[in-house]
């Protein structure tokens, strides 16, 4: 190996070693994100109830994941809407809230918790809308995180 090749190899090895040494303090610029999912009564994606009698109980599970790069304070709001209810990634549903769940999640952690809802209203194609809200540390208020899921269900009158 001639002197120039050796010097180049040495420089490359030194460069990689310096990068490895500085890696813990190099700021990452990854955009954080959250996750929201609704699972059926068996804690899987599927087996969702489609029809229930008035006063009956809907049992589901809700999954929330935090990859925001910081601890997060979440609120899952369950709203009861219908076909006319507007909801999007920017606008939360303008529908009555029937249940809420609040919890704090550390970064890169997830939580799956049971959701038990008693259906008192009747109707066809009712929409159980699940929205994820997150606590904004700047404003000290919850703001809509832009994540939502829905379950369409028919609630019939009792016997």
């Amino acid at each position: 190996m001639d002197r120039e090749t050796a010097a180049t190899a040495l420089a490359l090895v030194a460069l990689v070693a310096v990068f490895v040494a500085l890696e813990p303090i190099i700021p990452t610029n990854q955009a954080g994100f959250s996750e929201l999912g609704i699972l059926g009564p068996n804690m899987i994606i599927g087996g969702y109830p489609t029809s229930i009698t008035q006063g009956g109980v809907v049992k589901l599970y809700c999954y929330v994941g935090n990859h925001e790069g910081a601890v997060a304070y979440y609120q899952v709001l369950v709203k009861l809407g219908n076909g006319a209810t507007q909801v999007s990634n920017t606008t939360s549903a303008n529908a009555p809230e029937i249940r809420s769940y609040s919890f704090v999640l550390a970064d890169n952690r997830s939580s799956t918790f049971p959701v038990t809802l008693t259906m008192n209203a009747t109707g066809t194609n009712l929409r159980l809308i699940f929205e994820l809200w997150a606590y904004n540390v700047s404003t000290s208020e919850f703001s809509y995180a832009g994540l939502w899921d829905q379950l369409i269900i028919n609630v019939t009158g009792g016997p």
Binding site: L10, A17, V71, Y73, Y101, F103, A106, Y135, S140
Partner: protein
Amino acid sequence: MPLRPRWTGVLALTAIVWLITLGCGAAQAATNAEFSTTTNAIGSAFVAAHNAGQDGGNVSELVATLNVALNLLQRAQAENATNPAQAAADLQNATSMAAGVTAASASAAQAGNAARQVTVETSIGGASAIVIAAVLIYLLGDRIFRRLWIFVYRNFVVRPSG
């Protein structure tokens, strides 16, 4: 010694008054202001824990405590109509826990900052050492290698192959 009828009556009256007082206290449901106080305390505690986490502090215990406080708050909301005394106690516990988290966040942030400082110093020190070592190897590597070679083979005798 058996109690006299007069003292028995006084004791019974005292017990009745005490029970009535307790009953009146228990009948008062927690107010919206009390719920707001707890909610705000938990919000402030979360902000403190969040900032401690951003400073590199270990916030896992703070998160666990905050979730216990939130469970107490939600339980208080559910039981306020049926068991207001328990709801009030739960709210008080939740507020205390939130205050504890706020207080503990300061030390967590301090520990995080100290750990981060050590990481920065270690990284920069390591990188500097690598650069210095590379320069020394480039400048003195040949000479050191030759000296080492001579040192290792100093006792060897070179004989003509013929």
